[in-house]
């Protein structure tokens, strides 16, 4: 188990801030984007890429790297931001989001950018692919881990539960899933659209080991993610309670900002919110 020092936690807060800042930067140049889910996973990505995962930006195909599968591919603006910050590619690329033939499409393409592991976007695919990765690594005796981020709305896809059964059947304890429970999807509150409760019991009944955390608390993210597997022989899941569009005062916890079509006055508020965030972190 890894406990962050105050200094380390501050550094990760700065990373999460940069993710938010760069997500807004991309949406500004592209005029629209999936902001809500990108901002709800900023801390999770900061903790994974800057403290937990073994990756080498200079050698993105390194066989023994840890892998991240962003099953909720629409949250990719946050992934682009963290990969750029981690040094996988030039940050100037972020300004091409939304342009013709951009290497940063609205759902990620592994053939276009180093560090992207899968072509996700259609929901309910990521956990099966990640399960295959985890199984292949185990078959070869490689100790790398596979991390997955899924949205809570995505849980309505039945294919996830096929994958939940198979990962458990094959005892893939080298796999950690984050369910980004921001409680909202396009049509409203996720539990009203299609109820998934009791979420912890569902995963437990499929043979998973479950933890629940505040998904914006870096200490909780790193503490839990650093002790995978939670139980030997079981895949691990962290139910991360988050706030959709976290950091943007006008958009937080509002379903209508699942996909943000930018208005100038909102951009101005966003800039003020980011400035205030930066001041608080002391950047």
């Amino acid at each position: 188990m890894y406990i962050l020092s105050e200094e380390e936690e501050l550094q990760l807060k700065k990373v999460a801030f940069k993710i938010r800042k760069n997500v807004v930067r991309m949406i500004r140049v592209g005029n629209a984007g999936h902001v809500g889910g990108a901002l709800s996973i900023a801390e999770i990505l900061a903790g994974l890429y800057f403290k937990i995962m073994r990756v080498d930006p200079k050698n993105p195909g390194w066989r023994e790297r840890d892998r991240l599968v962003l099953s909720a591919g629409h949250k990719c603006l946050a992934l682009y931001a963290v990969l750029a910050d981690r040094g996988f590619f030039d940050k100037a690329l972020l300004d091409t989001y939304g342009s013709l033939n951009s290497r940063l499409p609205g759902h990620p393409n592994m053939h276009e950018l180093p560090g992207i592991e899968t072509n996700t976007g259609a929901l309910g695919h990521g956990l099966s692919i990640a399960g295959g990765m985890a199984l292949g690594l185990k078959m070869d005796g490689i100790g790398s881990k596979v991390y997955v981020i899924m949205g809570d709305g995505e849980l309505a896809e039945g294919s996830n539960w096929e994958a939940a059964a198979a990962t458990s059947h094959y005892k893939l304890d080298n796999l950690l899933l984050f369910v980004d429970r921001n409680t909202l999807q396009i049509s409203g509150r996720t539990v009203d659209v299609m109820n998934y409760e009791p979420l912890d019991k569902r995963w437990e009944s499929f043979g998973w080991s479950v933890r629940e955390i505040n998904g914006h608390d870096l200490q909780q993210i790193v503490e839990n993610a650093s002790r995978v597997p939670f139980e030997k022989g079981k895949p691990s899941v962290i139910i991360a309670n988050t706030i959709k569009s976290k950091g943007l005062s006008f958009a937080e916890d509002k379903a209508e900002y699942h996909y943000w079509k930018v208005k100038e006055e909102e951009l101005q508020i966003a800039e003020k919110d980011l400035a205030e965030l930066e001041r608080r972190i002391g950047q």
Binding site: R63, R67, N109, M110, H111, E117, T118, N119, T120, G121, A122, H125, L127, S128, I129, A130, G131, G132, M133, A134, L135, G136, L137, M139, D140, I142, G158, S159, E162, A163, A165, A166, Y170
Partner: protein, 316 residues
């Protein structure tokens, strides 16, 4: 033609051979192992045989993930359940991600003749060949199944291969050279070209013999790889014989006939006739009788070709 062999058993034996040569080859089953000819592979390489139960969406994703680690998964199950059902997984996780996975749809076409349309697969070629970068292979005899299995194992990239279930006549000698993407000229002829594929290639072969006896010199081409298709061979046949008839155990929509028509419409338009199942849910009953219902017996093919030749100057 007197020698016939079981296609699934033939495939299973070839996969064991391929597995001996390359330890990255693994087999993935969706509660479909014994019926897919995988028993010898399972016995020879128990740790490389992965059972997933009836999970046809999940297995495509798992195969994709396994391929990212260097494995070469062969996903083998009943044809519609690894094509139509998980189409989006096939498109995104294998096609778009360009993963080195081989999907084998067995008991394709009308094989499950008595079980009805849920288990028959008459659209697999049509839907899978829309996915960029996926090869579609439809071997026409047991020797070709064996050679194709080795060829797709060596080919880097996603492949869909379909095989039937009833015993298939042997058309090729053991030294036959299979080249992915290259059609095979099986019989010369100048009056008309018959293009066959897969399970009914042998029917087309016999039909060409009947025609020869009646003084009609039909060329016969085997298009075992429907994608990428051998355009050169098809265009050459169109130029030299002027008339093309396609024969397949598949819907007329989107299959071999459509693929050939796409080539000819752009490169050398000519009179065409397509033999296969038209726009309907197929019936059920004994396999050979079902083939006859859709004009796929050798005598019927020969008859259709004759009528086509006699009337091909005008629209039929």
């Amino acid at each position: 033609m007197s020698d016939t062999r079981d296609p699934r058993k033939t495939f299973g034996e070839a996969l064991v051979e391929a597995g001996e040569r390359n330890s990255n080859i693994i087999a993935i089953s969706a509660d479909s192992s014994s019926g897919s000819g995988l028993t010898p592979f399972k016995e020879r390489f128990p740790s490389r045989h992965l059972e997933f139960g009836i999970m046809e969406q999940g297995i495509i994703g798992f195969a994709s993930g396994l391929a990212t680690t260097g494995k070469i998964p062969f996903v083998v199950a009943i044809a519609p359940f690894v094509t139509a059902r998980p189409f989006e997984m096939f498109r995104n996780d294998l096609g778009y991600m360009q993963q080195n996975v081989k999907v084998i749809g067995r008991c394709a076409g009308l094989t499950y003749s008595t079980l009805g349309p849920t288990h028959q697969s008459l659209e697999d070629t049509a839907i899978i060949r829309t996915i960029p970068g996926v090869a579609v292979v439809n071997p026409g005899d047991p020797v070709e199944i064996k050679k194709a299995t080795h060829a797709i194992a060596a080919h880097v990239g996603p492949v869909y291969m379909k095989i039937g279930s009833p015993k298939m006549p042997v058309l090729y000698k053991e030294d036959y050279q299979f080249v992915l993407g290259k059609g095979v000229l099986m019989k010369e002829g100048r009056d008309v070209t018959i293009i066959g594929t897969g399970t009914v290639l042998s029917k087309a072969w016999v039909a060409a013999g009947f025609l020869e006896k009646d003084g009609i010199h039909a060329r016969l081409i085997n298009i075992h790889t429907i994608k990428p298709i051998d355009s050169d061979l098809i265009v050459k046949a169109a130029k030299e014989t002027g008339k093309i008839v396609t024969v397949e155990e598949h819907y007329l929509t989107g299959g071999l006939g459509s693929a050939v028509a796409e080539v000819l419409a752009l490169k050398h338009p000519c009179s065409m006739k397509m033999i296969g199942v038209d726009d309907q849910y197929a019936s059920n009953g004994p396999y050979e009788e079902l083939l006859a219902l859709y004009g796929l017996h050798s005598e019927q093919i020969a008859d259709t070709v004759k009528r086509f030749i006699n009337h091909s100057d005008r629209l039929l």
